[in-house]
């Protein structure tokens, strides 16, 4: 699964998986797979939130 996803993309994927699960048409294997994938997306989202390091940089005019 791509670690290059942005927060928004990962969130979208997470919602897709959630919707799939809630629709309840998945086989057990697919459902468990969807849960695993959704967890990865959830993790990516959480990581993205924490990834930024608060800093301020001033770029004076050249």
């Amino acid at each position: 699964m791509s670690q290059e996803l942005t927060y928004e993309q990962a969130l979208e994927k997470l919602d897709e998986k959630l919707k799939l699960l809630e629709d309840g048409d998945l086989s057990l294997e697919d459902a468990l797979k969807a849960v695993d994938e959704a967890r990865v997306y959830l993790k990516i989202c959480t990581e993205r939130l924490e990834a930024a390091k608060r800093k301020i940089e001033v770029r004076p005019e050249e």
Binding site: T6, Y7, E8, L11, L14, D15, K17, L18, L21, E22, G24, L26, L28, A31, L32, V35, A38, R39, L42, C45, T46, R48, L49, E50, A51, A52, K53, R54, K55, I56, E57, V58, R59, P60, E61, E62
Partner: protein, 449 residues
Amino acid sequence: MIRPEEAPRPFTVTELANEIRRELRPLTAVLLKGEVTGMKRGAAGHFNFTIQDGLSKLEAVLFADAARRVTTLPEDGQVFVFRGRIDFFGKTGRLSFIVDQVEFDDVGKLRARLEELKRRLEAEGAFAPSRKRKLPYIPKAVALLTSPTGAVIHDLQQTIWDRFPNMSVVVYPVQVQGAAAPASISRALRRCNEESLADVVVIARGGGSFEEMFAFNNEVIARAILASRLPVVTALGHTSDRTVADMVADAECRTPTEAGARVVPKKADLLIQLTERGRRLERERDRRLAREVERLQARRERLLQVLPSLMRTRMERLVRARADLARLSPVQQVARRAEALRERGRRLDAAAAARLARSLSTLTSRRAEERLERALTARFGAATRALDHRRQRLIALSPESVLSRGYSITQDGATGAVLRSASDTAAGRKLRIRLAAGRVGASVDEVEP
């Protein structure tokens, strides 16, 4: 003015030049209206041009630091109201108007030009919502293009960090007012895109009058915003007029606070949303598993129900199969056939023997009957005759015929021996006497030998 007769000696040129400068000093903060011609940019960042009114002309200079401050740079053929002072340069012997502010002479005309620019940009589709770049959901960093001094930068940082405490901010100090602002902002925008330290740009200033904001109506800034790869958000303060920069920007905000809220989501909200999704995920998983357990349980119960009969039929089939197998096994088949053959052989033998015996006996009995019949037929008369003869002889010879003549036969009662002599018996013995008709039992009284 110094009158020549009062001078004890002649002025040197420098002295007179200095005198002229001193005399001209009261002519400061002069407002001068005129048309610009011969606009030239000097190497030191200053501008030289001529201000004229058709009858007279004055040389003018706009020094570099004033050029950065002025609302707009003079353009050839345009009429402006200049504020400045008169100075005399001894070195060149020229009198110049030193400009420190340039005002539009005719705001109405300026607005007309602005409308023309807007129409042009509109026709290009520069304002079309479809052209606008999407702001990142969560930027990796926010670039701030603003004056490094002032409250704007503080307000923006505060808003951003209140919402997203670990968000990075990259500040590009720019001039947000005056003639130098368009070039300054355009340069900074280009750098933002080149350096890619941030993925969204906020151009901010603290509002101002039409003239103060005029830099943001400059086509140079509009083009720079349009050319930006990164989405640009304007936050130019509370003004009644939308600037061209606002119109081409990807998002338009009034205050720095609004812009901060626009470019950065509230982290706490996102965390709540994520937690909620996490809970939904667990719930869905649990629900799915519970359903599966239920389904399994139902199947197990059904299985338990059908298992006994299933086993029974299976067992029966197994037994049948074993019997079939035994029956169908070649050894068994051969053995069985051999036995069947033997059995048939035995039955054949028995049948044959029986049949033979029957034939034989039939044959034998038939022959005997024939002979007997023949013998009987042949011999019947003779036999009858012989029989008669013998019967006669028997009658004649039978003791019983003697008995009829009055004789009797005495026998010992115990032994049955015929007594022929008195000595054959003794007194007291029992006798049996056979008569022609019947018998008599008697006892011996005496014997006379």
